[in-house]
Amino acid sequence: MQIDSPKKLKDIQKSFTEKSSKYPKKILICCGTGCLANGAMKLVDTFRDTIKTKKIKNMSVEMVKETGCHGFCEQGPLVIIEPDGTFYTKVKAKDIDDIIEKSLKKDEIIEKLLFENPVDGNKIEKYKNISFFKHQERIALRNLGKISAYDLDEYISVEGYKALAKVLTKMKPDEVIDEITKSGLRGRGGGGFPAGRKWKSCKAIESDVRYVICNGDEGDPGAFMDRSIMEGDPHAVLEGMMIAAYAVGASQGFIYVREEYPLAVTHLEKAISDCEKVGLLGDKILGTDFSFSVKIARGAGAFVCGESSALMKSVAGEVGEPRAKYVRSVEKGLYDKPTVLNNVETYVNVPVIINKGADWYAKIGTKKSTGTKVFSLVGKVRNTGLIEVPMGITLREIIYDIGGGILDNRPFKAVQTGGPSGGCLPEAMLDLPVDFDSLTEVGSMMGSGGMIVMDDKTCIVDVAKYFLSFLVEESCGKCVPCREGLWQLHKMLEKICAGKGTMEDLDKMEKLSENIIRGSLCGLGTSGPNPLLSTLKYFKDEYIAHIKDKTCPAGVCPELITYEILDNCTGCMACISACSFDAISGKKKEIHTIDQDKCTKCGACVTVCNYDSILVS
């Protein structure tokens, strides 16, 4: 059926709701990449097979939904039984009969599949009561985990494409831009440039052709916000892009997705072809004069291609190198035409703003950073995963309320925000409100939303070294300060980690950083020294310990530490079998010894020792 009028959307919504109300219960199985890797697809198949073969009364395979990512990947595969919202974690195929018998046929809860709060050990039954979800406010992630990722009708049933219908039939392009401007929506890719202003300046340029591009080239290590959205709610991305295209007067869009995200590509392709089939993409959308088509451009996964000008070169089929941006891409972007480039998360916010109004949106978050932000919370916290929180929330709330605090009750040391080019913030900054400007002020940044929590066992110099090595690897190599300068910084950090650094190196690094920031061509270079500068600012003592005392206080840097077996060794021989280098010797029930010449300081022995008998110093 062609969807050629807003009324048809309502019809579909109605019929879908009627259809699904036939069955009282729904089984939502998370099919995000994390849960798939843990065997979610097998769960889906088993659920469907069981329901089909056993021909259970009042049940149908339609009840089983493959949803997008909940963000709570470490607990996966996740199964939610609606309408109660019973939340089952780490579900295995063998649990399925149990779930059908107890939770679907009856309303019983299966205790062992419930989520156990790592803080107090209590079992939590309902999805919404879990602290990881309780403190979140989900706008961009609104449909993730709730609807099937590739069912157009289901997306329409949750008011999908309603915002598109509204702008096409009731709003002028300028009104759309005004609404977005009023909402205060800022680019979620990291820069935080006001989306409305970007659209307005693109529209203001005289041109016959304009483009909208969606940046799905999420390159930060450990970040999977955009990936989850593209995989779990592809239609929301398309709807946001369509609204942007209508507002700026574009008729062609591109979604730039990295090759590492095959599922996102599959789901987006399906969403695009579904929309094309019913006329939601193509000519005269919803019976109006608006025409729009979308193509997927696949990137090879270079970090620098997340940078706008490099991305556009890559979309055009050239080598992904940034160009100088004295001419803005809203004027001369893709194929030298005015181009609006926004991040996935920015686009998915757009339909909600149109539906609920700019005023509603502007009330969420802080005055200068409105709305919510999705973060990928990882590292040494109890609950890791994808979270969406209102702007202005403090780091402490994120780490302790949502994240459940530091693993093993260890002391908090630092939190790294903003991806590889962000900065590390110390405990004193924990009450900092998380928004674009506050983070930049203290030497870090919002970035696309990576958040890595570190405990006292993390060596901050090692962390800076790691991020620098990432940036050295990912620098496109075009301009000298980034290519050579970051490499030199990394070399100096290696020297310090090996106990060969000098105090002059610190000054040298700071001076070099200043010139890299001033001299680099694109954002990768200008923000490249951030991990170094922020750690140097807040953790200088640790650098000095490496240089002057030749020690690594966190016990990480191999060349500055030794492993010793203490007298409380029980002689259990666990460490002997764990050591791949035959460095530990000893007899049963006798204190073992480590041959320092053979020891590679890999830490395998510490991991297996149950008696804390191995001292790292």
Partner: protein
């Protein structure tokens, strides 16, 4: 026409003209390593960075590469501001660490007072400074036989898959425009070898002198509609031919007159 101020002097230029071309016209010495007039500016070497400001910017200054920064009316440019000089020094320091053997780099660095690098010298550093003048010229001439390969510190200029590039015609523009003379080639015995590809040269049918490769001559002849026989004599023999033709006419004229 608009007016900008460079180092205190008011200068007239075209709106949107790149600052570097105005600076060069004013004969102000700003170093560059990746600039070539034949191709679009790239902004890779960063040496042409200048300080720009405007009265309405409230004292705020920006540091931009002049090769890519369009002139706007009222712009105030300082080509040798302290921070600019410091940046150039730092960049040359980085260059010197990476290309310790390059005379060109040594010379330029010495001009800015950098006599030895303060950074870690790259032991196996070659003389390719990745200015990409060669690849940009090759692209611009329509061959695209070589390109940059890889990224970051390991980036290099090479033909596809490091094999003799099918699209190379042996024009030598890459080698001859390399600021550090890094690109090697061999000539002799009517042959030319570059990028591991061997070429036969067109020999003058009169004296045997060679000027360009056969592939280049054929390319020009076909693409640019130039008779191939033009390429079959060297410039000197062509001039002799011309003098003989004109000589005949002049001689006739001389005889008629006398």
């Amino acid at each position: 026409m608009i007016h900008i101020t460079i180092n205190g002097k008011v200068v007239e230029c075209k709106d949107g003209e790149m600052l570097l071309s105005v600076i060069r016209r004013e004969r102000i010495d700003v170093p560059t390593l990746c600039h070539h007039e034949a191709v679009e500016p790239s902004g890779a070497c960063r040496l042409c960075t200048v300080e720009v400001t405007k009265p309405e910017w409230d004292g705020w200054c920006d540091y931009v590469t002049s090769c890519l920064y369009p002139a706007k009316d009222g712009l105030i440019v300082n080509t040798h501001a302290p921070k600019v000089n410091e940046l150039r020094k730092s960049i040359l320091d980085m260059y010197l660490a990476r290309h310790p053997k390059s005379l060109k780099i040594k010379q330029l660095a010495a001009d800015y007072g950098v006599l030895a690098t303060s950074l870690e010298t790259v032991v196996d550093g070659n003389n390719c400074i990745l200015c990409t003048i060669c690849t940009r010229i090759c692209d611009h001439m329509g061959f695209s036989a070589i390109s940059t390969v890889g990224r970051g510190h390991g980036k290099e200029v090479a033909p596809p898959l490091d094999m003799a590039p099918a699209d190379c015609v042996g024009c030598l523009a890459c080698a001859k425009n390399c600021p550090t003379d890094y690109i090697e080639y061999e000539t002799g015995n009517g042959r030319l070898k570059i990028w591991n590809k061997e070429f036969e040269m067109v020999a003058c049918t009169v004296c045997g002198k060679t000027t360009v490769t056969k592939e280049f001559a054929e390319h020009l002849s076909q693409q640019r509609d130039i008779p191939f026989e033009y390429f079959e004599k060297c410039d000197e023999c062509h001039r002799k031919e011309l003098s003989a033709t004109m000589g005949k006419i002049a001689n006739w004229e001389r005889e008629v007159r006398s």
